[in-house]
Symmetry: D2
Subunit: 279 residues, 4 copies
């Protein structure tokens, strides 16, 4: 039996009366709906709903709900416990530090179980916040071997979300498949512009007046997963590529932290190559 302040997430094929069925069952179970968001993707005929409930949830609630909904409905109940996160990093501190600081401030309902990096540079940062830090060097390993090793270490923590905090490694399809729908990356450009290497130098060369960052779920297309969140900052002719990179890091940090927050609040749904975000 689950107790108060639970979030129900529902995703299924669209049908008439879905809201009535779901909210009706909540009413029968004496569950009070304190906040509700729903969205129907009309092209894909797909229904998404996030419902905040207060009240005692009996064990037969979810099975009863499944019976009312179309076959294949994805239902989940989320308690108010912290979302468990493992962060992967390389050498850059800003995204990793941003999340660890927010955890320290109690501004995010997450628990960073561990940091895994392919270099040791950021060990002091993790140590400062009392978070376990593992170096898994890629030296002398094939991509498959390294991904296997990192993946096994991640799996040992059983995280809900894997955050790529500027992890500068290309992931193998096997790794992505192993943690499907759980990997959130921060991309150092305003996708789909400036895909690939050195995006700030590309942006500088093109003479753009805005740079940005993109948080997205990772799938097997590099830089192509479902976008969660984007933000931008204005730049001028006086900003060099190096200054743009520095300004861009602030946007990356903000966007990455916010994406993890949305994940921890169960506000993110993957919808094909797009997302539904109940912000």
């Amino acid at each position: 039996m689950r107790t108060m302040n639970t979030i129900l997430t529902t995703q299924c094929d669209d049908d008439v009366g879905l809201i009535a069925k779901i909210t009706g069952l909540c009413h029968q179970h004496n569950l009070n709906i304190t906040r509700n968001n729903e969205f129907v993707d009309k092209d894909a005929q797909r229904f998404f709903m996030r419902t905040e409930l207060s009240g005692v949830i009996s064990d037969d609630f979810l099975p009863s709900l499944a019976e009312l909904l179309p076959d294949g409905a994805e239902l989940a109940l989320h308690s108010s416990e912290k979302t468990k996160v493992v962060l992967l990093a390389t050498k850059e501190a800003h995204c990793l530090g941003g999340v660890l600081l927010k955890q320290f401030e109690k501004a995010l309902n997450i628990e960073v179980l561990a940091v895994i990096a392919n270099y040791a540079d950021l060990a002091p940062l993790a140590a400062g916040f009392g978070v376990p830090f593992h170096v898994v060097s890629h030296e002398g390993l094939s991509r498959a071997e390294h991904d296997q090793k990192v993946g096994d270490l991640i799996a040992s923590y059983q995280p809900d979300i894997i955050g790529l905090a500027k992890y500068m490694r290309i992931l193998s399809p096997e790794f992505v498949a192993r943690f499907e729908g759980k990997i959130i990356n921060i991309h150092h450009s305003f996708l789909p512009a400036f895909i690939g290497a050195k995006p700030y130098h590309q942006a500088f060369e093109r003479g753009v007046k805005i740079i940005g960052a993109t948080a997205h779920f990772v799938n097997n297309e590099l830089d192509e997963g479902p976008i969660i969140l984007q933000d931008v900052t204005h730049v001028s002719h006086a900003d060099t590529a190096e200054m743009m990179a520095k300004m861009g890091k602030d946007v990356e940090k903000t966007v990455f932290c916010k994406a993890l927050q949305l994940a921890s609040e169960h506000k993110l749904f993957i919808n094909g190559n797009r997302t539904v975000v109940f912000a």
Copy 2:
């Protein structure tokens, strides 16, 4: 009998099962909910919901719904017809022109029935967009007399919304009461800062780095009605009070147009001295 694409707005005291009751009745009536927003003000124990429906709505839908809900529930069905607006203005063109241009672009689902001003300066602007323009001078009239005259003229158009497009007159309590909940004003500052006259000069003197504008419903407290929308723009030491005023006008125009858009989409609810805005 009403037809497709209707918006149902509901406001009532909070109670358990309200969403289930409302959506259940929609389901019984074969109405498909294409978009739904709800909010509960827990302090005020007040429930707000906006529901986009497709399907044929029978004449007994609303009475049936009223029976299901707590006494005093405010229910309304809105067709996709244009929201009827009368605009009041004085001499400044930006807010009036902003709305008329957007109507011309078909970017707003509103119909400006008429413009009423206490000076003739803006007659050519209204004429250019083919909108009736009336001058009701305040010269030689008491405030009560002028408000009565303007009010009678407004009333003859039976508008849904009265937009104060930089109408530089203080309204009498009688006027406000006559059109209660229907008057939207644009205030040339970021309320509650710089209430009163010459807000941009006040802002300049204080050395602020951001200026803004506020759209709000008008009640009997000057500059104090429920806030609908606010936006800002950054200013610097190099901007004079006059330049701030010019920059501020852009924000005013944007915010005023957006507030009228929200009204025309039935996304605004007054909740005491606050608003619920389903943006």
Copy 3:
């Protein structure tokens, strides 16, 4: 002899002491510098300066200045007279109307001499603001013939700037060369993303969370000229491609008007495929 409130723009190869030389000559001529901006592109070794002067400028000021500066320096004095603009349009009203309204408000120091369009749809909008409107249909004409005809009509007005207010025609290299450095376009996407047709549909399909618009000088590379200004707005999963297009139009209007304002204030310099913008 030129009188008070003049703007001097200087662009030349970089050299030591340029600011001292220019401001020294101003001092000798009893010209007071009320505002000054300069920028050196270190890679290109190029110097840019914009100087607001008050005082009486004698006829030998500019020749004297040219002697002090490196060969090939581009110097110009701009009075506070209005910048002369010809606008080109097709069927969409928002950018054209945005500029005409701002001219009416006296918010832009420009004079729109004429509007030229390849369809007649926007004639009433121009007429409402009392601006000459010419239809030059492309029907039955080759691109070269049409561009010649439009170009001759533009040339008859001798404008300082040609604004493409959603002019949905690809320009021939000859046309672009004829008005080199004078053509400002508004592009309906956040360049360099979504180049080409139907950018809002492309954006929707990719599931982006931000859309934007770009004002740029036109050169012979389609969608590739020096960028002047960009801005964005946030979108969500609930926004269809049509809604994005509508939201995008607001950004286009704002960015286009602001780019013309910067041009009218002589704050824009072309620097290869980039710009210097003294905002």
Copy 4:
């Protein structure tokens, strides 16, 4: 003798030819100006300039410059050394942590010499970043005594800037006078709105749609010093006062870090109760 990459800051009464005099002397001394900003406050007849110089600066440069300028000119040369900062804090981590993290990332050209707090709560945060942390409790001390003790400790570090990172103590006039022009505070509201206690609760009650934060120099008027920087974030009816406070902390962190960055880059000038900020 000072070497390359120096910043010259000048503030004095306005006079004709000031830029020519300053840049002319730089030219004589073979100093290359790589970036220059100036501003004249016409009302106050006050001149401000920030000049980035490359080249070797001889010891007689500054005295020679002083002779050229009006009496009482405030001149300073700043090397590219890190700006020395002491941070004061109480119990909230976000602003303190924000600065320490940015220092760790090498994103700010500052050196935090020490953190002084009236409680011990944040000691682990400072320790994690290897920064000295002192508790100076106010228990049992008068305000004057406590300020004396804190002031003496600050003075022992000889900082350039004192950052109040959510230091929840009212400062005595003596303390403010002792460190005049060096104290930067972050205020948890969009000044001048919601001065005083519980600003987010005030903002919630008023139903505002935007909240913000303000970085300002501290003078003897509480919440009234010269404003350096402000920023905002949008809120909705669904955000409680607690959620607003949480969202506001992000803005506070960003604005505070940026204000320290501007200080470290010598881009801030106090101009009466206003600031000049060469951003």
